[in-house]
C-alpha cells in the first residue's frame, strides 16, 4: 500500500536514534500472553485500481434513485444537492481538519460553524443552535436530556406521528436517562391538542413532528400551546426545506427545534452520515449538548471565533457534562450551510412551493386513478399516505418491476395501514413521472 512514507533507510536510522534493534522491541510492553502471534486473517491487499473495481461492483448491485423513479422518503429524501456543495466539501482543509480545538488554526471552520448556527436559528427562529448532532434521531434524545434537567421531570411525551425511528432511539436512551416515555396516538393523521395537553401533565417535554411522519401538517401552534399549558417544553421536529413555507417553531412557542438535516445538502447515502440540528431559546444556552462556535476578539481587538461554553462539555465536566457528544457531523452541517446559502430565502420558498404543488398534483392524479388518500382531510407538504387497494409490499414489488418505487410501506410501523404507501415528492420529480406512478399503481 502507498499510505506509508518511510523508506528502509529511514526505518534503520530511526531505530538507531531510538536505541533499539527492531520495531518488535518497541512492543515488548505488551505482555507476550496477550499478543496475537499470527497474521490477521484478512483478504489480500488490493491495489487502487482493484479497489475501485471491487467497490464499483458492490455499488452496481444497489438500485440507487438515479436508476428508478423514486417516491421513497420517510425521513430521507431525494432532493437535489447543488454542485457547489460537492466543490466546498472536496476542499481538503475542511475535509481533513479535526474539531477546531486551536481556534487560530481553524478560523475558517469556526466561522463556517457560526454561519451554520445562524442559518439554523433563522430557519427555526431560535436563539442558539449547536454545531450539529449525529442525525435526526439522536437530537431528539438530546432534547429529552435538556428537558429533563431544565424541568426536573422524568417523563417525555412523543407524538405517534413522530418518525418511528426517532421514537425508537428516544426509547433506547430513556432507561439511561431515567426517563419514562409515553406516546399520544394519532387521530386521522395528526395529534389532538387536547389529548396532548392531558398527556403532557408532569412531562419534561413533548416532541411532535411538522410535517409529521405521514406528511400531514400538525396543528403545530396548538400542540406547542398544549405543551406549554402543562409547563412541558415544546419540541418541534421539523424538515429544514419546509421552513420557507411553513411557520418556524420559534414563532409558535417551542422551546427547542430539532430535525434531520439530510434534506438540506446531504446525499441519501443509505442513511448516513447526515447531520441532526438542535436549536433552542436562549434560556437553554448552558444546557445545550455539543459544540458551539462563538464570536470573540483577538488581542488586537479583531473579530474571531472559538468553540465556546466548553464548561458544558465532556472534556471539561466529565461525568457532569450536558452530553457525551464529541465527534459531531460538522462536514455534513457545512454542506447544509452551503445548500441553504445557495437557495437563499427566495430559493427556499420556491423549493417549498414546488414540493407543495407537485405533491398536490400527485394526490390528485392518484385520486383520479381510484386510490384513496389515508388522511384526505389533512393538508400536507411533500409527502402523503395513499391506500393502494392491496398489500402495499405487493404493490411496491410490482411497481419496481416497472422502474418506479412508489414509496414506503406504512404497515411496517402502523397497524391497520398494511395497504398504505407513504409517497414523497421532491422538486426532482416531474409531472410525467407522477403520471407514470399513477399508471403503474393502477396497472
Amino acid at each position: 500500500m502507498s499510505f506509508l512514507s518511510l523508506t528502509e533507510q529511514d526505518r534503520e536510522q530511526m531505530l538507531e536514534t531510538i536505541g533499539v534493534d527492531s520495531i518488535d522491541e518497541l512492543f515488548e510492553q505488551i505482555p507476550s500472553g496477550v499478543r496475537l502471534g499470527r497474521p490477521l486473517e484478512l483478504e489480500r491487499a488490493l491495489s487502487e485500481p482493484e479497489l475501485v473495481a471491487h467497490l464499483s461492483e458492490l455499488a452496481a448491485r444497489n438500485v440507487d434513485t438515479g436508476r428508478e423513479v423514486s417516491f421513497l422518503g420517510a425521513g430521507i429524501y431525494d432532493h437535489y444537492v447543488p454542485a457547489v456543495v460537492d466543490a466546498v466539501l472536496a476542499r481538503g482543509e475542511f475535509l481533513t481538519a479535526y474539531t477546531p480545538y486551536q481556534p487560530e488554526m481553524s478560523q475558517g471552520l469556526l466561522q463556517a460553524i457560526f454561519e451554520y448556527q445562524t442559518a439554523i436559528c433563522e430557519l427555526t427562529r431560535m436563539d442558539v443552535s449547536n454545531a450539529s448532532g449525529y442525525d435526526g434521531t439522536t437530537v431528539a434524545a438530546d432534547a429529552c436530556y435538556v428537558a429533563k434537567h431544565a424541568t426536573g421531570r422524568t417523563k417525555v411525551v412523543l407524538a405517534e406521528t413522530l418518525n418511528p425511528q426517532v421514537r425508537q432511539v428516544v426509547k433506547t436512551y430513556a432507561p439511561g436517562f431515567g426517563l419514562e416515555v409515553i406516546e399520544v396516538p394519532q387521530r386521522e393523521g395528526t395529534i389532538d391538542p387536547d389529548e396532548l395537553r392531558q398527556a403532557a401533565t408532569d412531562a419534561a417535554c413533548v416532541i411532535f413532528q411538522q410535517p409529521n411522519f405521514f406528511g400531514c401538517l400538525e396543528p403545530a401552534p396548538d400542540l406547542a400551546a398544549a405543551a406549554n399549558d402543562a409547563e412541558a417544553l415544546a419540541v418541534a421536529h421539523v424538515d429544514p426545506v419546509s421552513l420557507g413555507v411553513l411557520e418556524a417553531p420559534g414563532a409558535y412557542g417551542c422551546a427547542l427545534a430539532i430535525g434531520e438535516g439530510q434534506a438540506a445538502g446531504n446525499y441519501q447515502s443509505y442513511g448516513g452520515p447526515h447531520y441532526g440540528f438542535l436549536a433552542a431559546r436562549s434560556e437553554f444556552i448552558r444546557r445545550m449538548p455539543g459544540r458551539i462556535s462563538g464570536e470573540t476578539v483577538d488581542i488586537d481587538g479583531k473579530r474571531g471565533f472559538v468553540l465556546t461554553l466548553q464548561t458544558r462539555e465532556q472534556h471539561i465536566r466529565r461525568e457532569k457534562a450536558t452530553s457525551n457528544i464529541t465527534t459531531n457531523q460538522t462536514l455534513l452541517a457545512l454542506a447544509g450551510l452551503v445548500h441553504l446559502s445557495w437557495l437563499g430565502p427566495q430559493g427556499l420558498r420556491e423549493l417549498g412551493e414546488t414540493c407543495l404543488a407537485l405533491s398536490r398534483y400527485a394526490k390528485e392524479r392518484l385520486s383520479d386513478a381510484g386510490f384513496e388518500l389515508v388522511f384526505p382531510e389533512r393538508a400536507t407538504f411533500k409527502e402523503f399516505a395513499v391506500r393502494v387497494g392491496r398489500p402495499a409490499r405487493e404493490a411496491i414489488r410490482e411497481a419496481l418491476a416497472a422502474g418506479v418505487h412508489p414509496g414506503y410501506a406504512l404497515g411496517r410501523d402502523y397497524a391497520g395501514l398494511d395497504d398504505a404507501v407513504l409517497v414523497a415528492v421532491t422538486e426532482k420529480r416531474t409531472t410525467d413521472e407522477i403520471d407514470l406512478l399513477a399508471e403503474v399503481l393502477a396497472a
Partner: protein, 498 residues
C-alpha cells in the same frame, strides 16, 4: 473577513430550481411562514469565493502535520472519496428493498467480519455514529445484560482510570451508571491496589483505553482482566487508540467483552472539522442478543437486515449507521489487507522516534517506550521561564504545524500529547522535532515570542473567556444591542480592509 450574511444583498441568489408550471398549492394560513428566514442572498461566484476563503483559513491534514494526540490524524486516501461518491452508494435510499441494496448490505457484512477479526470478538454492530455513542451503546448493553441476569439493581458502578477521555464518565452518567475513578501508578499503568479496592459486587464494568492516553500499554492488563472477571463484571475497551495494536494484540484476546472502534481515527474516515465519525462496537457472544437492530446478516449468498432480536436495546441512530463512513473505512482496510499490522508498527515507530528526539528538551513523566503517541510535560519550561504549554502550542503555529493535544491527560501537568501517525515521512517528523527544540530554546532566550504567538495566523490569540461570558452564538443582523465593546473590533477590522 466578513460573514456570508454581511455579504448578502437583497435580490441576489445562486439557485435555479425546476418550475413545474402547476397552480400554486397553499399552506393553511395559521401554519404559513410569517417572515422569511434571513438566509444569505448571494450569487454563485461570491458563494464559491466565500467558502474558498474560509477553507484558506482552515488547517487540515492535507495542509500539514497535525499531531493531535488521541485523534489519529493520518492521511485520508483520496480513492476513498472516489468510491464513496459512486451513485450506487451515494444515491441509495436507506429504505430501499433488500434485494435492491445487496451491494450495500454485503459491504457492511464484510466490514463487520473484518472488525471482528481485528479485535477478536465475534459480533459487530456498525450502528453507533461516533466513539462516544459506541461507549453509550456499550454501557446500555451492560445494563440490558445485567438486567437480564437479575443483577441490574445491584451493579451500579463503572470503573474508569484517571487517564480516561472525558467521554467515558459522561457516557456513564448518560447510561444511568455511576463513575468510580481509579488511579494511575508510577509506571503509567492502572494502580492495581487501588483497583482491587474499587471493584466488587456493585461493579458493572470497566472502561479502559489501552494503550492509555499516556500512550502506554498497560503492563498489568492480565491482572486487571482477572480482577473484573472474578467480580463477574464486564470490560469495555475504548478503541480510541486502536491504531497502536492492529495485528499485534486483540482486546478480545486480553479479556474485553465490548470494544468500540473510531472509524474516523484508526480507519481513516476524514474528520471533516469535527465529524462525521463512526463508532461500531464488537462484543462477545453473550452480549450479542442485546445489540441494536437491525443486524446485517448473511443467508447463503444473500444479505438481509434482521429486526427480530427480542432482547435488543433498540436503536441508537437512524437506519444502519453512517454508511458513507463504512464505505471509506472498508476501502481503507482493503488497501492494507493483513499488512494492517505494518500500519500500527510504523505508527509506533514514528512516535518513538519523535519521543527520542524530544525527551531531553521536555520532561517525560513516564520513562518508557511509547506506543503510537506519547505525553510530554512542559512543567520545566513553566518553572524556569514562565512559559506555558499553551504558549508552546501557539508558537508551533508560527512553524506551520498544528499543535498537539494539550493539557490532557489531566494527570500530567502542562501536558503535550503527541501522535504523529504512520503516514508521516521522517522529514516531517524531523522538522517538527527541530521546531519543538527551537521553541524550547526560545523559551529560555526570547520567551515573548512564545507568549505573543501565534504571529502568522489570520488572528492572534483569541479571548475565550469573553466568548463564554458574553456569548454571541449567531449573527444578529444588527438588530439587538450587542455586548459592550463588540462593535469596536469590527471597525478595526474594516480599517485594515479585512
Amino acid at each position: 473577513m466578513k460573514l456570508i450574511y454581511e455579504k448578502s444583498k437583497p435580490g441576489r441568489r445562486a439557485s435555479s430550481l425546476p418550475q413545474p408550471g402547476l397552480p400554486p398549492a397553499e399552506v393553511p394560513e395559521e401554519l404559513r411562514r410569517s417572515s422569511p428566514p434571513r438566509l444569505p442572498e448571494i450569487s454563485e461566484p461570491e458563494l464559491v469565493r466565500h467558502f474558498t476563503a474560509l477553507a484558506d483559513r482552515t488547517f487540515g491534514v492535507d495542509t500539514g502535520f497535525y499531531p493531535l494526540g488521541s485523534c489519529t490524524m493520518k492521511h485520508n486516501p483520496r480513492v476513498n472519496e472516489r468510491v464513496v461518491g459512486l451513485p450506487g452508494f451515494r444515491d441509495l435510499h436507506p429504505l430501499q428493498e433488500e434485494d435492491a441494496s445487496q451491494g450495500a448490505l454485503e459491504l457492511m457484512w464484510r466490514l463487520q467480519e473484518i472488525l471482528a477479526e481485528v479485535v477478536g470478538l465475534p459480533a459487530v454492530s456498525l450502528q453507533p455514529a461516533a466513539g462516544s455513542q459506541g461507549e453509550l451503546t456499550g454501557l446500555l448493553l451492560m445494563r440490558a445484560y445485567f438486567a437480564d441476569r437479575g443483577e441490574g439493581h445491584e451493579r451500579r458502578e463503572i470503573v474508569i482510570p484517571d487517564t480516561a477521555h472525558g467521554t467515558n464518565p459522561a457516557s456513564v452518567t448518560m447510561a444511568g451508571y455511576e463513575a468510580v475513578g481509579v488511579k494511575t501508578d508510577f509506571r503509567g499503568n492502572v494502580d492495581l491496589d487501588d483497583l482491587r479496592e474499587k471493584v466488587g459486587p456493585q461493579t458493572a464494568g470497566l472502561m479502559l483505553t489501552n494503550p492509555s492516553t499516556l500512550g502506554l500499554f498497560d503492563e498489568g492488563i492480565e491482572e486487571i482482566t482477572k480482577i473484573f472477571h472474578e467480580a463477574g463484571a464486564l470490560m469495555y475497551y475504548d478503541g480510541a487508540n486502536l491504531n497502536a495494536i492492529c495485528g499485534i494484540a486483540r482486546p478480545g484476546d486480553f479479556g474485553f467483552d465490548i470494544v468500540h472502534f473510531n472509524l474516523h481515527k484508526t480507519f481513516s474516515q476524514p474528520h471533516g472539522g469535527g465529524g462525521p465519525g463512526g463508532g461500531p462496537i464488537a462484543v462477545r457472544e453473550r452480549l450479542e442478543p442485546f445489540l441494536p437492530v437491525p443486524a446485517v446478516v448473511r443467508e447463503g449468498d444473500a444479505f438481509r437486515l434482521d429486526y427480530e432480536r427480542p432482547k435488543t436495546i433498540g436503536k441508537v441512530r437512524g437506519f444502519c449507521g453512517p454508511f458513507g463512513v463504512f464505505v471509506r473505512s472498508y476501502a481503507y482496510i482493503r488497501s492494507y489487507g493483513p499488512a494492517l499490522k505494518e500500519m500500527s508498527e510504523v505508527a509506533v515507530l514514528n512516535a518513538n522516534y519523535l519521543l527520542a528526539r524530544l525527551r531531553d528538551a521536555y520532561e517525560l513523566p513516564f520513562d518508557r517506550h511509547c506506543m503510537h503517541e506519547f505525553v510530554l510535560s512542559g512543567r520545566r519550561l513553566k518553572r524556569e521561564h514562565g512559559v506555558t504549554t499553551l504558549d508552546v502550542a501557539k508558537r508551533l503555529m508560527d512553524y506551520r504545524f498544528h499543535p498537539p493535544t494539550i493539557y490532557f491527560p489531566l494527570i500530567v501537568p502542562e501536558a503535550l500529547m503527541i501522535e504523529p501517525t504512520e503516514t508521516e515521512p521522517k522529514e516531517t517528523l524531523d522538522a517538527f522535532a527541530d521546531a519543538m527544540l527551537a521553541i524550547a530554546r526560545e523559551a529560555a532566550e526570547h520567551s515573548e515570542l512564545l507568549k505573543e504567538a501565534p504571529h502568522v495566523r489570520p488572528v492572534k490569540r483569541l479571548d475565550e473567556v469573553r466568548a463564554a461570558k458574553r456569548p454571541i452564538l449567531r449573527y444578529l443582523f444588527g438588530e439587538h444591542d450587542e455586548p459592550e465593546g463588540s462593535d469596536e473590533p469590527r471597525e478595526l477590522e474594516a480599517q485594515k480592509g479585512a
